[in-house]
Symmetry: C2
Subunit: 234 residues, 2 copies
Amino acid sequence: MTVANAKSPEPGRPRARGDALAVLKLLALAGADHAPVVLTSRELGEKIGVSQQAADRYLLALEKRGLLTRAFAQRRQRLLLTAGAMELLRAEHHAYRRIFEGPAKVSFSGIVASGLGEGRYYLSQPGYVVQFTERLGYSPYPGTLNLRVTAEAMRRVGLLGGWNGIRIDGFPASGRTFGGATCFPARMNGHACHLIHPDRTHYKDVVEFIAADCLRERLPVKDGDSVAVDLEET
Amino acid sequence: MTVANAKSPEPGRPRARGDALAVLKLLALAGADHAPVVLTSRELGEKIGVSQQAADRYLLALEKRGLLTRAFAQRRQRLLLTAGAMELLRAEHHAYRRIFEGPAKVSFSGIVASGLGEGRYYLSQPGYVVQFTERLGYSPYPGTLNLRVTAEAMRRVGLLGGWNGIRIDGFPASGRTFGGATCFPARMNGHACHLIHPDRTHYKDVVEFIAADCLRERLPVKDGDSVAVDLEET
DNA sequence: ATTACTAATCGCCGAGTAA
DNA sequence: TTTACTCGGCGATTAGTAA
C-alpha cells in the first residue's frame, strides 16, 4: 500500500508565505504591467518557495480577483497585470516611500479667480458646517477661494487621490442631495487653509480652498494675483 | 453542554492574510523605526484583520526572528523595530521603486590610480577566469583599473549592496583561499566594463574595475585622469 | 484592562493524477 | 510537457480562558 501523504514536506523550512502581493510584485518586476510575461506555475512556485499546485492556485485566485489576466499561448501561459493590480502595488509603493522618504509634499501656484456665489451657498449649508467644525476644527468663512492652475499643477493635485484626506460626507437636504468632498490641509502663501476637492467637481483647471478667515482679506489677494500653495501628506 | 468552537468565525470573509511584512510596514509607518510605538495586540489585530490572538502570535514570532523588540510599560507594550526589520523593509522599498521608477542609476567620477600588481595576480587565477568567462561573457584583461573617489561617491557605491550583482565565488587554490566578489555592469567614459567589489575589500576610497580590454589603453587614460562612471541596475 | 496559553477546527499545502 | 483537480494531513486561526 502506498502512503499518499506521509508527512509535512519540509518541516523546518521558514515557509515563504507567498501571498498575493508577493506574486504581483514579482510579476510587476518582470514587466507584466505593460507586456505579457511567460511564466509557468512551476517556475513561479520555485521563485516564491511553494509547489506548482500552490502557485497555480495563487494565479487562479488573482485572476478571480480581477488582478491578473491569463492567455494560453501554445503551452505556456502569458500573464498580464490589470490596472487594479497596479493600483494595489502603487499603494504599497506609496507606503514604503512614506517610510523611507517622509510624508509626500506637493507645491504649485495658481491665479486667484472668481467663482463666489456657489461656494458661499454650499458652505452655508448646516450639513456641511457641522462636519467642517468637527473634522477641520473650524467653521469656514462662507466662501471658497478658487485658484486657476496649469495642467501640470492639476496633475500634481491629482496625486492627492492616493492620500488620506479628511472626509466630508454628502447628505440630503431641502429636497436635493449635497455631494461629499475630501479636504487636505494646505498653506496658501503660508496661511493655513484646506484644499477642498468635491467628489463631483465641475472644474478642470480650478482648485478650491476654504479657511477659517476670508483668505482674500487675510493674505490679502485679489482676482488675478498669483499665490503659492503647499500641501504635505498627513 | 456548551459548544466550545461551533464553526469558522467568518467563513466567507476575504482573509486579510496579515503576514510579517504587513505588520512591519504598519509599525514603520507609525514610526516604530525611531521611537517606540504603543500598540496592543487587539489594535494590531483589528488593523490587519485577524484576531487578537493571531496578532499577538505575529508579534511573538517577529520578536523571535529579531525584527522587533518589545517593552512592557505599565499595561501596553511598546514596540520598536530593529535594524534587521528596516533592512527587510528597505529591500521592499527598493523593489517597488524599481517597478514604478525604473532601474536605479548611480553615477560618479573618480581619479585613475595605481594598484596594478595585485589585480594582475588575482585576475590571472584560473579559478576566477573561468567564472568571469561564464558569467560576464568575457575573459578580462589581467589587471584592474582603480579609481580613487570621494566619500560621497563611496556612499553611492555602497547602494550597490542592495542590487543584484553578478556573483564570483571564492575558491581554494595553491594552498590558500581566494575570496569571492560581486560584479556590476558599468560604463567608464561610455566604455563597457564591470565594477568589481571583493567581499573583503582593502580600500576605503578606491573602486576597482575590470573589462575585456585594457581600459587604460582603450579610453585612453593615465594615472591622475578623471573619468565618469555610470551604473544601471540590471 | 492587558498578554498569551490550550484546545478545537478551518483551510492551505503538496502528492497524485487527469486532461 | 502544461494547467488544474481531488484529497489527506498539518499548520494556522479562533474562542475560551489563565495570569
